[in-house]
Amino acid sequence: MSFLRFLWQHHTDVWDLTLEHLWLVGLSTAFAMVIGIPLGITIAHWPRWNKPVLATANVIQTIPGLALFAFLLPVPWLGARSYRLAILALTLYALLPIIRNTYAGIRGVDASVVEAGRGMGLTESQLLYQVELPLAASVILSGVRIAAVISVGLATIAAFIGAGGLGEFILRGVAMVDNRVILAGAVPAAILALLADFSVGWLEKRLRPR
């Protein structure tokens, strides 16, 4: 009960940090989509690029989060505002699932359907927008969902470099050895992760081709 009381007493803080958290996750996931989906499409159409691109995204994924934040800190423009840095790092982490699922989704489209479309005289861009992307949409979105859920968790680390978000509560709680404070960050973060999973999952199901 003392946790709930604590939450109530600090509800404006919790709310502000939740919004900040959402902002970090939303923006980085959006950036990762803007970069990752075209990249995934590209490597699906030009397979010779798929190894280097996926390998790079894989390597990025293996860098420990805190280390990546620390590495990026001295970079001139980025380091000046820690949230920029956090968004860049989160974007990099979100790339792999999005690129990989876009690649798999496009490759998974029935080749005979694409060829029929091409044979009927669809241009390459018509094929992409009317056939390949709609049919790959649910697979691509499941990549976005994975990326968003990972980001919610990862974004708590952003507090270590002062980028804000719900990680601040966790950081403070650890310093104060106060579980209520830790939970005030962890519980909303978990709820955010579930919400992201649920909402993108819902969209994914709606876009699944019959």
């Binding site: 005979s112 359907v113 029929a116 091409r118 044979g119």
Partner: protein, 258 residues
């Protein structure tokens, strides 16, 4: 009909197609006359499908020329060319996320027909291939194989192309449905007089549908015969084909009798 009656609609001039060191097609010369149904007959891997795809440029020849309506396709606008050629493949290749109506409307729509003209055209096409009007709002997965194939034919005919390419369109159907569609397609063709190239490995289908049969083997054109000539042909490949089907029919009949 756009083509002059004297001129072939499709003409292959010494066409070769090679992938790496594999000679898929070699020294292929053939003329397809207006309004005829030319059947490409041959076993798997004989180059029938490749031949068909050369016409709508899904495949580019290594050497030689292909003329469509007297125009060489080397420098032409591929998209224009394809929209003027109907294309039907096995399993129809319908877009699974499009309704039947949208599938049929595909080429008219990308050609920028006005909305109401597209709508009436879809209804006409459904009627033409013997599908009920309420099928328009269904999705391909809600149809039977035969219905899907009808939609495939409707889609290919929607923009009224003079040429139709059909790649084993009825091969995946059960015998009864296949028979039905073959019969209906013949009736349709008598009305529409399209220039058709039809790929099959089924001799019975070839004999039934073709005005001429072009027999292919290992990337080469063996001979071109009318169905009547084909069954009596002394050509070893043609005779082998007739024997294979004749024997098959006989043994099947024998099994049924015993």
């Amino acid at each position: 009909m756009t083509a002059d009656a004297a001129k072939p609609v499709i003409e292959f001039r010494d066409v070769a197609y090679r992938v790496g060191s594999t000679q898929v097609l070699d020294g292929f010369t053939l003329q397809v006359e207006p309004g005829e149904m030319l059947v490409l007959l041959g076993r798997s891997g004989s180059g029938k499908t490749t031949t068909l795809k050369l016409v709508n440029r899904l495949v580019t020849p290594t050497s030689g020329q292909i003329l469509v309506n007297g125009i060489s396709q080397d420098h032409g606008d591929v998209i224009r060319l394809r929209r003027g050629i109907g294309y039907v493949i096995q399993d129809a290749g319908l877009f699974p996320h499009f309704t039947v109506a949208r599938n049929i409307a595909l080429v008219p729509k990308i050609e920028g027909w006005p909305e109401d003209r597209v709508r009436t055209r879809v209804q006409e096409m459904l009627q033409l291939v013997g599908l009920a009007a309420e099928m328009a709002s269904r999705y391909p997965h809600q149809l039977s194989g035969g219905q899907r194939q009808r939609v495939g034919v409707a889609r290919a005919l929607a923009a009224d192309p003079a040429i139709l390419l059909m790649d084993e369109p009825f091969a995946a159907l059960d015998p009864l449905t296949r028979d039905e569609l073959q019969r209906e397609f013949l009736v349709l063709q008598q009305r529409l007089h399209k220039t058709v190239m039809f790929v099959t490995h089924d001799l019975r289908e070839a004999l039934r549908l073709g005005t001429r049969i072009a027999l292919m083997e290992a990337g080469k054109l063996v001979t071109v015969l009318t169905p009547q000539e084909f069954v009596k042909s002394k050509d070893p490949w043609a005779a082998a084909y007739v024997r294979a089907f004749g024997d098959g029919l006989e043994s099947a009949a024998n099994r049924g009798a015993s």
